[in-house]
Amino acid sequence: MKTISPLAKLCAAGILGIVLLLSMDPVSAVVALVFELALLPWAGVPARRLLRLLTPLLIAAPFAGLATLLYGRGGGVVLAELGPWVITSDEAGLALAITLRVLAVALPAVVLFATTDPTDLADGLAQIWKLPARFVLGSLAAIRMLGLMRQDWQMLRLARRARGVGNSGGPLAALRRWGNQAMALLTIAVRRGSLLATAMEARAFDAPVTRTWAREATFTTRDGLFIVGAALIAAIAVMMAVMTGAWNFVIS
């Protein structure tokens, strides 16, 4: 999947995401998820890395379901009563649907993220979708700075410890320290940002000539077919849901 245009991947993940958010039934989510999982071996992401990227999601998705299970609107047959919580069949169905849906929507997005170089995406956005270069390259540079900000945050914490204001007082003092440190991070980020802007300007960024692109962003028939494939999966999922009568349009 590394050779597919990032724009095609963005479209594919977008189509699946939007279509799957239109209904709250378990069927369409399961169908989409089955297709996605079946295609996963061809995504070109090592299993280990994929697992690491999916971990937060695998933890979060059941919790989203759990909330529905415990605090849902009720309806259907009562399955269990756990103290203050009454769990009904409708709630259980909805909880399962939500869990599966979160996974089905997020999986393509995670694969998109794992197989796409931000630089290539920026190339596509600027050259094929003709978004302004200033905006695209600025965002690209900002993404790189996020990594630096994480390092800065760590150093700021260490620096505060070294300055004697690292740990004292109760939770309120801790909160104030956190705010103070966040402020300092912001200051440093702004400073880094302006230094980077200077460095970019020093390399003629935003010069009054038409910018060229060193890397050519391409969009081939194969990329088109990739999007069609995603649309097909979405369509099949919707059809199956409608045919089984499970489809429930969220806006109704």
Binding site: L148, R161, G164, T187, R191, L196, A199, A202, A214, E216
Partner: protein, 476 residues
């Protein structure tokens, strides 16, 4: 061709009472190799940014005239390529090839030509990595060469460099010099460089321009600098080469403060480890730690300072240093317990600032110790004077020059009189006068019985003050 001309040029930053530069006049012709010297805070970097046309109109107001081929530098983007001081903040893209290509793209160079230039520039600076190599995986020295390559690929007529070797180890600095020499020889570009490490560049330069508070102090070929003028310039803080730094007397300390056992340091979450370190730090002794960029010196300093856990082995404080603290491992001390025991001064001063004025910054430590207002004031006043920061007492720490920030960050650690002081690059960005001040300040601290650990690339500093030297990851 490209002639740079300044006529009584000056610059005043918005919200600053005095101009950063005043009355600067010179003419620089194509192919000259100019070394721009001057005391700390005299406005050298500002001048370079103005030459490169990246000094924003909203940042302040100009006086006089600064012209590049008769036009303002802003109107001739691409003619001047600027390499900045800190290699970290000028990496723009994630892949080496793309980063070098960035300037060419902005100038509208054709695609085939861009890649031709990229390969040529990388070869010239001697950065032999694949075009797809990650820029974040490069060492400091490599990043600096990458920045130079990015500027070269634009084929500028003038290359401006702001302390390009400041962050580099001696080997990296030599490599950059070689790269720049072959660039200048093969392209004939004009070079304008600000640099404190004049010894490296003296034979490279064809002309020296010394900036002072009111215009150019001296202008001429390196060999023609009269002896008397040299003395005047040195006492004004200008670095000149071959300044013989007297080797300081060796001291041998008394009480052991801190020792390490089979210690290997590294950043949390990183798998890179420093070489194994077994050292003993005594009171009244200066230990210098040197070594190549990227060998783990900074991680070692943080580990010794009780700020990050040791990856392997351990750091143990002597009972003398430990005093009432519960553990012998500085990592387990409370933040306030560190204050009077181990003071750490980071490589990047701005990460350490926590207050809105210089005065408040110096008062923060003593206040955390619970000293009275009179004691704090007395201490802060003394430090301000010692560090030459009196006039900046009410300035915001972030608005100080690099050299001034460095002195302030050392001052914040001194304010609580820690038994052991750990300094990461203490002489970074200092001019000749403040450098000497820093050395004598540290000597006094040593005489008072403080232990000092200094991470440094500065060979003169090592010679002047170090009692012991540890070369991390090297034989020497």
């Amino acid at each position: 061709m490209a002639t740079l001309s300044a006529q009584e040029w000056g610059w005043q930053f918005a919200a600053r009472p005095a101009p950063a530069l005043n009355n600067v006049s010179f003419e620089i012709a194509l192919g000259e190799r100019v070394l721009l010297l001057g005391a700390s805070g005299v406005g050298k970097s500002t001048l370079l940014r103005a030459l490169a046309g990246v000094l924003g109109e909203d940042e302040g107001t100009a006086r006089g005239e600064l012209l590049l081929d008769g036009r303002s530098p802003e109107a001739s983007r691409g003619k001047v390529g600027l390499v900045l001081q800190d290699p970290e903040n000028q990496v723009i893209l994630e892949r080496v090839g793309d980063d070098v290509a960035f300037g060419c793209e902005n100038l509208g160079v054709h695609r085939e030509e861009i890649w031709h230039r990229v390969n040529e520039a990388l070869a010239l600076v001697g950065l032999n990595v694949p075009l797809t190599h990650s820029t974040s995986a490069l060492s400091g020295g490599q990043k600096q060469r990458l920045a130079l390559a990015g500027v070269l690929a634009m084929k500028p007529e003038i290359i401006a460099l702001d302390e390009p070797t400041a962050n580099l180890d001696p080997a990296g600095a030599q490599a950059l010099k070689q790269a720049l020499t072959s660039v200048a020889d093969s392209t004939g570009a004009t070079i304008v460089m600000v640099e404190h490490r004049v010894d490296i560049w003296w034979d490279f330069a064809t002309r020296i321009i010394v900036l002072g508070a009111d215009g150019v102090l001296w202008d001429g070929a390196p060999g023609t600098l009269p002896e008397e003028t040299a003395h005047v310039l040195e006492s004004a803080g200008v670095w000149l080469p071959h300044r013989t730094v007297a080797a300081g007397p060796q001291h041998s300390g008394s009480t052991v403060l801190l020792s390490t056992q089979s210690l290997r340091a590294g950043y949390p979450g990183s798998s890179e480890l420093s070489p194994e370190v077994n050292l003993t730090i005594r009171a009244g002794e200066v230990l210098a730690i040197t070594g190549l960029n990227g060998v783990g010196k900074t991680a070692l300093a943080l580990t010794l300072g009780g700020l990050i856990p040791a990856k392997r082995g351990q750091v143990s404080a002597s009972t003398e240093l430990q005093e009432s603290a519960k553990s012998s491992g500085p990592l387990h001390w409370r933040s306030r317990e560190l204050l009077t025991r181990i003071g750490s001064v980071f490589q990047a001063p701005e990460q350490q600032f926590i207050a809105a004025t210089v005065r408040e910054e110096l008062a923060a430590g003593p206040r955390a110790l619970g000293l009275s207002k009179e004691e704090i004031d007395a201490q802060v006043d003394e430090l301000l004077e010692r560090l030459h920061l009196q006039e900046l007492a009410d300035a915001h720490p972030f608005t100080l020059s690099g050299g001034q920030q460095r002195r302030l960050s050392v001052g914040t650690a001194l304010a609580t009189k820690p038994r052991l002081l750990i300094l990461d690059e203490p002489t970074f960005g200092q001019d000749a006068v403040t450098w000497t001040e820093m050395v004598s300040l540290l000597s006094e601290l040593r005489a008072e019985g403080h232990g000092i650990v200094a991470i440094t690339h500065d060979e003169a500093f090592v010679k002047a003050i170090a009692d012991n030297v540890l070369v991390l990851g090297g034989e020497k």
